[in-house]
Symmetry: C2
Subunit: 330 residues, 2 copies
């Protein structure tokens, strides 16, 4: 066991004005960015392993479009080393929410959709099966009867899931919605705002969801996320992580690839959200190939940001905010 | 409607070293204390209406002893003005948790118990009925089967309730515990850590509690508390507020007296927690007479602290902490 001591902490308020471009259905994207300096017999450290949380992350898609499929049946192999090789070669299937933000005009929607297709958001196995999936997101806006009423009407568009149909704390409400919508072929997806394993335990116990969306920063620590992965395995519910925000994709790829290799051993009905924003600010950004997350090869949790990016986007004194706030005053 | 503008806010970190005397089963009692200066056509204010929250409040009794009874059947009167007069004359029934902290020795327990009796913690109607109630508090320590197992063994002591038997977020767990314990004559009490009305809605829907314990500072705003009072009325579950900490008694008395006069119209199975600590730091402290909260007669929410108390107990630079921290270093 490595023993050490945290000798210094730095906490910085980093914000990105993504709302100016209409990226995300809510306000700007922000993160509390914390760095720790550690020292000890085996590690006399620099600020080289940073951790970030995104308590102010408020980027939510209203409607998601993705392309995904089963990995040719290979996903159920019992062999961990095989699954590891498979991940290294093919990556973990992703879906993109970059192309359907509420704030986009119809023209922009068409353009970003076309760009997504050009960027390879069609997997080879999907092309053959001609599979097209559509997901919807209510961002917690409905009460329980409203959610059932709206989604019953929207069932003709065959959405795979409705995400956050009501308050994320309303386990019994989600159970009622699930019961009404599953017969219509619509699953309930939720989890990005669930604050601990106790809420997830109940969502699973109450059969309140068909897709479980962990978030790498909402739950407190990697360990809390792992406990949810294990419960999802027990209840045979696929985990489809929430991502986007500031660095959520970078973090959650570790969790979901671990889930496949060591816990679920299946890709059936599984995919990880991907949003094509803000990766340029990270030292070890995600690598997407053929609409899949390629396993990160650097050590650590991929959380470290470029110092220049942090400095520029610190609120309210960073260069970016200095200019924006000055412009607002004029 | 009064219109105005908040022109200044002050937020201060106030802590009381109650743990030094073993008062409370957890660590010291702390509060974020916020003052607001308002100005407007009808109010050009001083700091005379302050609001406080107690996010760091961590005073939990492990075992509570109280004396309480029905108010002679009068509590069910349909007349609001009668209930108002009744409150002004008799006050709202309270129970005390000052005499059973975990940190106290057996001798101290006997002494504080005797003092409580001397202070009048026997209501007249109770003396006649010779009613003695005992409540137990698990402070969320158990998992669900543990709670059932322990309380089944403790049933012989006839506790009125078991408080927070498991995680406060575990609605389905509380429902399981309730189902097992109600036949043994033990109710489940919870709520002091419930963060919004959605959690309370589900606790009520799932028949997960027999006593509902709102907290004046845990829920965000008076309005959120009022929504819970209304739901409790609908489900016919008595509200027995949590109090103690820094100023919780001062705040919650307003809510529970309002509940009696305008919502529940009943005192049956109802009482409000009282802890005899820290009231001397408040400008408008609670007034307890014959083990009852007497309605506050000053305007406002009774939240304002004495400036001298705040100054002395500010962490880490107040006089009290200066001395304590210096002593710790020596």
């Amino acid at each position: 066991m490595v023993r050490g001591r945290i000798s210094r902490l730095s906490v910085r308020d980093v914000r990105f004005p993504t709302s100016l471009g209409g990226h995300g259905s809510d306000a700007m994207v922000s993160a509390g960015y914390m760095g720790a300096r550690a020292c000890g017999p085996s590690y006399s450290g620099d600020w080289s392993r940073e951790g970030s949380g995104a308590p102010g992350d408020s980027s939510h898609p209203k409607c998601s479009v993705g392309f995904v499929g089963q990995a040719g049946g290979k996903g159920n192999s019992p062999h961990k080393c095989f699954r590891e090789e498979q991940m290294l070669a093919q990556g973990y299937p992703a879906y993109t929410t970059s192309c359907a933000w509420l704030g986009y005009s119809d023209d922009t929607l068409k353009q970003v959709g076309a760009t997504a297709l050009q960027q390879g958001w069609l997997r080879a196995d999907l092309l053959v099966k001609n599979l097209f999936l559509q997901m919807m997101d209510a961002n917690q806006r409905w009460d329980v009867p409203e959610a059932v009423e709206w989604m019953s009407k929207l069932a003709k568009f065959k959405p795979l899931w409705i995400e956050e149909p009501t308050s994320p704390d309303d386990i019994l409400g989600h159970a009622t919605i699930s019961k009404a919508l599953v017969p219509l072929g619509i699953g309930v997806a939720t989890g990005e705002q669930c604050h601990n394993r106790v809420i997830f335990k109940q969502l699973l116990q109450a059969k309140a969801l068909q897709f479980l969306q962990i978030d790498s920063c909402r739950l407190g620590s990697i360990n809390e996320n792992l406990s949810v992965l294990l419960m999802a395995k027990k209840f045979e519910i696929p985990v489809c992580p929430h991502a986007g925000g500031v660095g959520l994709c970078e973090l959650v790829q570790h969790l979901i690839i671990f889930d496949y290799i060591s816990v679920s051993a299946s890709l059936k009905n599984r995919m990880c959200e991907y949003v094509d924003h803000l990766h340029e600010h990270f030292k070890y950004p995600v690598m997407i190939q053929r609409a899949s997350y390629m396993p990160p090869k650097d050590a650590g949790y991929s959380t470290e940001m470029k110092e220049e990016s942090v400095r520029k986007h610190q609120y309210p004194d960073g260069e970016v905010w200095n200019k924006l706030l000055a412009a607002q005053e004029n």
